[in-house]
Symmetry: C2
Amino acid sequence: MKYRLYYWPEIQGRGEFVRLALEYAGADYRDVLRHAGDFSFPRKNAPFALPYLVAGKRIVAQTANILLFLGPRLRLAPRDEARRLWAHQLQLTIADWLAEVHDTHHPIGSGLYYEAQRPEAKRRSADFLAHRLPKFLDYFDRVLAASGGPYLLGRRLTYPDLSLFQMVTGLRYAFPRAMARIERRYPQVVALHARVAADPRLTPYLRSKRRIAFNRQGIFRAYPELDRERNSSKKT
Amino acid sequence: MKYRLYYWPEIQGRGEFVRLALEYAGADYRDVLRHAGDFSFPRKNAPFALPYLVAGKRIVAQTANILLFLGPRLRLAPRDEARRLWAHQLQLTIADWLAEVHDTHHPIGSGLYYEAQRPEAKRRSADFLAHRLPKFLDYFDRVLAASGGPYLLGRRLTYPDLSLFQMVTGLRYAFPRAMARIERRYPQVVALHARVAADPRLTPYLRSKRRIAFNRQGIFRAYPELDRERNSSKKT
């Protein structure tokens, strides 16, 4: 087993961004905690949180850092340093975006239940849907347009493409009404999502039981009250 | 001019983590927007947000990515890939921590004034001070203990040490009562902060006008109502 991934076995979460890269590349890996429930953080290079990846003696954590490590090894990253950092930069922007999605349902504290912060979640979600979601979608639409397409870095798929696919998939699950309303404004992003979703290197995984279903423990959560048609958040 | 940094000229913010590395290394750089107010994002490799760095033809954005790029060039990163990714992993954890600090005063929306989200900010700050702040401090204290010290990666200072220094400095400014109450539990972090603060490679900058003072536009903000002695946030 070349790679061992440690992540919560019940959710897609941050680990899914790593799983997608491993699966797309056909890598020899084990999703450890789906087979054995217990874990303890390694003492050397101790991660702050899951996910982390073990490869031989290497231990790598932080999702974007894991992908920075895996990218060249899975042939999902460009060869030269400048383009490799550009791919990583896009991944870090996706990480920021994902953190904002998480906070739509947990704006007060990640250790509190959603039900204990619902009013705040409604307010934050309205702001997210009105201001932040369009800003991120527009940004990636422009990056795709500027790259010449069809992928974020041009003609070849790299790992941030898989992550952008995951963002669109998750956002459609969590905010179906908002996405139906606005996603047509971002045709490059929609086309990238469709292309990745139909990629024969990925479809077997997406149809398999290895792909955990979205649910209300994950980062993308479908709470209809957070997916409002119109919002009352005022921009200052 | 070897490096040109683009960041908001009125605040320390995320740009400060880059400024500290450039200043510590004595790099030939210009803090562009402090001299000329206007900017437009480059079209090629367009950043999502400030800060970004220009070095010759290279354009690099995302604070942690800028430091990944600068680290070896400023001799503030380890030589081998494994330790370089470990330094980056620590930096990404600091980035997560910093985002949580920002959200203590902006839990609902970054485009809204603080005054428009004060009740939510009080709740989020209480949760941050009770649960998240101790968790991050404890993590870095343990990393320092495990490294053999005095720095995060051992005997040589690397760029995440400068960033950890900045976190402690900012947290003491924003949450003086909370920090006074708990920081003694994290002696390694306190010692690292004191060592960096007294480093002759950094003190000229810290005493200069180039070091922007903390204020209520930045990420670290001193709102006494958010720095409560005790908090009522319940952990579920």
